[in-house]
């Protein structure tokens, strides 16, 4: 690409706004700098949100993996529950089912 073409491309990419736009923007920045109330933009909190998420996931207490014994006992209790249901089924007279 020759220099002329590059200049044309640069001119094409330029941002143009009318004078009133720049004046309004300048006033808003000066007002904000003077400490007039302005709402914080949510996206500005993105780094803080990322840090908070990181802290949450790293600081959260890790639940230890269940030991083989407790797995057995859980299975045993579930088995007992099942047996209970079976007891109930057995206790109900057949004609009422």
């Amino acid at each position: 690409m020759n220099e002329d073409k590059e200049k044309k491309l640069i001119s094409l990419l330029a941002v143009r706004r009318h004078e009133a736009f720049w004046q309004r923007q300048e006033k808003e920045i000066l007002a904000a700098a003077a400490g007039r109330p302005s709402h914080r933009k949510a996206w500005l909190l993105a780094p803080a949100a990322a840090l908070a998420a990181l802290l949450f996931f790293t600081a959260r207490p890790q639940t230890p993996a269940p030991s083989p014994e407790s797995l057995v006992s859980t299975a045993f209790l579930e088995h007992l529950d099942l047996l209970d249901d079976m007891d109930v089924l057995e206790a109900v007279p057949e004609n009422e089912l």
């Binding site: 706004r17 923007q25 300048e26 920045i29 500005l44």
Partner: protein, 191 residues
């Protein structure tokens, strides 16, 4: 730039810092806004970033070591804020709150109105269409190429771009070469 000498860090810390700050804004707001707009493709975000860039500069002026110019320092702040904005946008999209592709808040039509009211109708239509096409072409570039192209489009030198983005000058040149090739392909009809 002649004004840049007037609003150096010394004048901002001098007897009339408010006036010096107003001069600094006047001098660089077009540049900062243009960079923010081209990097985010959002008029609202660009206004926010411009405001936040000057606020941050005002607040952290004491941290400015003068190793680069105020211009590249401001652009570095603006580029970092644009990156934050993108992270926020990605996060919003990830949780399903984001807008779809191409649904960014475009500039209000009156923003394109020229200062001479007599020129209005055709200029408005042409300018708005051109703006959409230019923004779409820039959006197609990968992030680093986009940043380099946006700063180059503000007539910054390779050295200034390298300082603003914290890149090696050779890397800036390589990115600009690629970006230019792609932009020429997208916007060839206007060149």
């Amino acid at each position: 730039m002649e004004n840049e000498k007037k609003t150096g860090p010394e004048s901002l810390a001098g007897s009339d810092p408010e006036n010096a700050f107003a001069l600094l804004i006047e001098e660089h707001q077009r540049l900062v806004f243009a960079v923010a707009l081209r990097l985010t493709a959002s008029a609202d975000a660009a206004e926010d970033i411009t405001q936040e860039t000057f606020m941050a500069a005002w607040k952290h002026l004491k941290d400015f070591r003068g190793e680069s110019s105020l211009k590249t320092w401001l652009l570095r702040i603006a580029a970092n804020k644009a990156r934050s904005w993108w992270r926020w946008k990605k996060l919003r999209n990830w949780v399903g709150l984001g807008r779809g592709e191409g649904e960014e808040d475009a500039a209000a039509p009156e923003d394109f109105l020229p200062d001479r009211p007599g020129d209005r109708p055709e200029q408005l239509a042409i300018q708005a269409d051109l703006e959409r096409r230019v923004q779409a072409a820039i959006a197609l570039l990968p992030p680093r190429q986009r940043e380099v192209a946006v700063l180059r489009s503000q007539e910054l030198t390779m050295t200034e771009i390298a300082a603003a983005l914290g890149m090696a000058e050779g890397t800036v040149k390589a990115h600009w070469f690629e970006a230019r090739r792609k932009l020429e392909a997208s916007l060839g009809e206007y060149l």
